[in-house]
């Protein structure tokens, strides 16, 4: 029985891949990449808990489910896109549904200076062929990662974002990746390639949400290239419905004296896994890799990060916080490499977890590997509960215990939320962290 099911799973992705080839022919080099990728997926399959990187996150249920890859652009109307829109973007909002960019739902106010188009079309466009070929599938390696391979094989749309040299994008650009679960039991493979040219600057919001309450498998990749002197502020917000499997990779490479400020917020999905990597192979780059995960009953959230200091004089800051309630389970694995010769590296990593129930559990593993001798590195991890003395203090000021706990939880999250520069995101997150307190905390 088990065996039949497994065979069926493999077949469903392989079968769907044949449709991909038929429906979306592309440039020979990308055909090669896609077929290479499906071959790798066939060999690697979904990772299992025997894989060190997946020790605490079991994908067996996902592998068994009969998710059907979305292989064609749907044209179904989507009710009130506005509910997913952050007002600060003032109309710079691209909408991707089940992996396919929907021009009809997107608005492009204030994007005249940049290129924000369908990635698959960009490959075929003489203007962008070279650059997409250079950077696509370069930082998100599919050769030893079955899930990245699967995403790469299903590359039929996605978003290509190109910020030309010296362009400073004034308003934030939002890309919403919507899982339309009305297409029942579907799988989608959102793909984003960002190239921020020299001395450009931009703010990007990636928002992952669901339309509908049914199950879905999201397998997303964002590849990000920040060139010399460029600055990118990147918010990644994952708030999919509680039946979704959300697997994602963010892979960034930084140029000389560039700056990449990433904040990843994970609230939704039944199982969420985010791999984020930042490669600093040029001097003087600086990155922030911060995040917050909040999980309640029957949710599993897993963050794996790799910060790779390959050249001297780079700085990385990392703060990840987790709030876990019910029987939630969280995994944090943060690796920092300081390669030989990467002198004057300044690397700081902190992971703090707040457990609100006795059943919640977190496995945290900060990992520092240093091969240079003149560096400043620190890392730490903590797991704790609401402090009884703090709670008593709040009670002694008239706050009932429930309100006191909420306030302390809010305060715990604020270290991450407070640094977000977009008000509507901050407000939304405060609300999610403690909806019943929200109205009272505007002081």
């Amino acid at each position: 029985m088990m065996v039949t099911e497994l065979v069926k799973t493999e077949n469903q992705y392989l079968t769907a891949f044949r449709s991909v080839r038929e429906l979306s022919p592309t440039a020979p080099w990308l055909e090669l990449v896609r077929s290479g990728a499906i071959d790798r997926f066939e060999q690697l399959d979904f990772p299992t808990v025997r894989d060190e990187e997946w020790k605490y996150t079991n994908l067996a249920p996902l592998a068994k489910e009969g998710f059907q890859p979305a292989v064609a652009r749907a044209d179904a109307a989507l009710a009130s896109i506005e509910r997913f829109t952050y007002p600060e973007t003032t109309g710079a909002h691209l909408v991707v549904v089940n992996g396919f960019l929907r021009e009809d739902l997107s608005t492009r106010m204030g994007l005249d200076d940049i290129v924000a188009i369908d990635l698959f079309s960009a490959v075929a466009d003489a203007r962008y062929n070279k650059i997409t070929r250079k950077y696509l599938a370069r930082n998100a390696n599919y050769r030893d990662n079955g899930l990245s391979a699967l995403n790469t094989a299903f590359l039929q749309s996605g978003v290509f974002l190109w910020i030309p040299k010296g362009v400073k994008l004034e308003t934030p650009l939002q890309i919403s990746f919507i899982s339309d679960t009305k297409v029942s039991n579907s799988a989608s493979f959102p793909r984003l390639l960002v190239v921020a040219e020299e001395n450009s600057s931009a703010t990007l919001i990636e928002s992952f949400v669901s339309n509908g309450d049914d199950s879905h498998f999201t397998n997303a990749i964002a590849e990000i290239v920040v060139k010399d002197g460029a600055r990118l502020e990147h918010y990644r917000l994952q708030n999919e419905n509680r039946k979704v499997y959300h697997i994602a990779t963010t892979a960034a490479e930084l140029g000389r004296a560039s700056s990449y400020d990433a904040t990843s917020i994970n609230f939704g999905a039944q199982l969420a896994r985010h791999d984020i990597s930042v490669v600093m192979d040029h001097e003087g780059a600086e990155c922030w890799v911060d995040g917050l995960y909040v999980a309640g009953a029957n949710q599993h959230t897993d963050t794996h990060s790799v910060i790779d200091h390959k050249q001297p004089h780079c700085t990385s800051h990392q703060l990840y916080k987790g709030i876990l309630d019910g029987n939630a389970r969280a995994v944090f694995n943060g690796k920092i490499f300081v390669r030989e010769g990467a002198q004057k590296t300044d690397a700081m990593q902190t992971n703090k977890n707040l457990l609100l129930s006795a059943q919640a559990r977190v496995d945290t593993k900060p990992q520092l590997e240093i091969y240079a001798d003149d560096v400043k590195c620190a890392h730490g991890a903590a797991v704790g509960q609401i402090d009884e003395e703090e709670l008593f203090y709040l009670q002694a000021r008239g706050l009932n215990p429930e309100l006191g706990r909420s306030l302390l939880t809010y305060g715990f999250a604020e270290e991450v939320i407070g640094k977000i520069k977009i008000d509507s995101i901050r407000t939304q997150l405060d609300e999610v962290v403690l909806n019943h307190l929200q109205a009272k905390l505007e002081a």
Binding site: E390, Q395, A396, G398, L399, P401, E415, L437
Partner: protein, 259 residues
């Protein structure tokens, strides 16, 4: 306002308070003094309802109601306030947010309308003058990175905002330099009215130079060993606590329960 009768209390099975009797009427300032370990802070914490302290006998009536049956937050909403000896830091929550929340919880409890952020800002500005705190303290996280003196001032600011009927100040003078002591004591004096009462828990007499008590109670070994007016504090300052403890030993030598 407050009636403590034969109060016995302790922590982890060790009895610290061994029969306290104390009556506080409105408009009065009481000083509780005593050497380290005499039970002064325990008394303050028991009145505030600290969960680690267990009351084993006796009763405490607050405005005729059984205080010991009330949860700590209920006591606070009913007008009992304790200024902490070691105020707790609450990272990520601004002073202004926290104070407005506490203030509004109390108003709700009294059936009054809550203040919106702007209204509260005005009130806070007014009350902050009592302890000479400037606006920058309001946007900072509660007590986080505050100096010892700033924390104590912040406690009195909370008192100024919440306007308790009964304030218990637990060693509010400890760790204060002379200027900070003057500010803190001045704040408390401004808040005194004929309608409220203050219990000052202190080791040293010097606070009482600024806040003049109506009564001084000296604790020793979990009991009130001596009571008197403000002159008792001066006598203590002169003779030291040994005087009380030796007195206590000779007085109670026969009647003290065997340990």
């Amino acid at each position: 306002m407050l009636e403590i009768r034969n109060l016995h209390a302790g922590i982890d099975g060790n009895e610290i308070l061994k029969g306290i009797n104390l009556t506080v009427r409105k408009g009065e300032v009481h000083a509780i003094m005593g050497p380290n370990g005499s039970g002064k802070s325990t008394l303050a914490k028991v009145l505030a309802g600290h969960p680690q302290y267990e009351v084993t006998a006796g009763e405490v009536l607050y405005e005729g109601k059984n205080l010991l049956e009330m949860a700590p937050d209920e006591r606070a909403r009913e007008g009992v306030f304790m200024a902490f000896q070691y105020p707790i830091e609450v990272p990520g929550v601004s002073n202004a947010q926290f104070l407005r929340l506490a203030y509004n919880e109390q108003r709700k409890h009294r059936g009054e309308e809550e203040l919106d952020p702007l209204e509260f800002k005005d009130l806070l500005k007014e009350r902050a003058k009592v302890v000479e705190m400037d606006a920058s303290f309001m946007s900072r996280s509660v007590n986080e990175g505050f100096s010892g003196g700033e924390k104590k001032r912040n406690e009195i600011l909370q008192m100024a905002v919440l306007e308790p009927k009964l304030a218990v100040l637990d060693e509010t003078d400890s760790g204060l330099d002379i200027d900070a002591l003057r500010v803190v004591a001045g704040g408390v004096n401004q808040l005194l009215t004929p309608e409220n009462a203050v219990i000052l828990v202190t080791h040293y007499q010097r606070l009482l130079n600024y806040i003049v008590p109506d009564y001084v109670h000296v604790l020793a070994g979990g009991r009130i060993a001596r009571e008197g007016g403000k002159e008792l504090a001066l006598e203590l300052e002169e003779k030291g606590y040994d005087w009380i403890t030796s007195l206590d030993a000779s007085k109670t030598g026969a009647g003290a329960p065997a340990n």
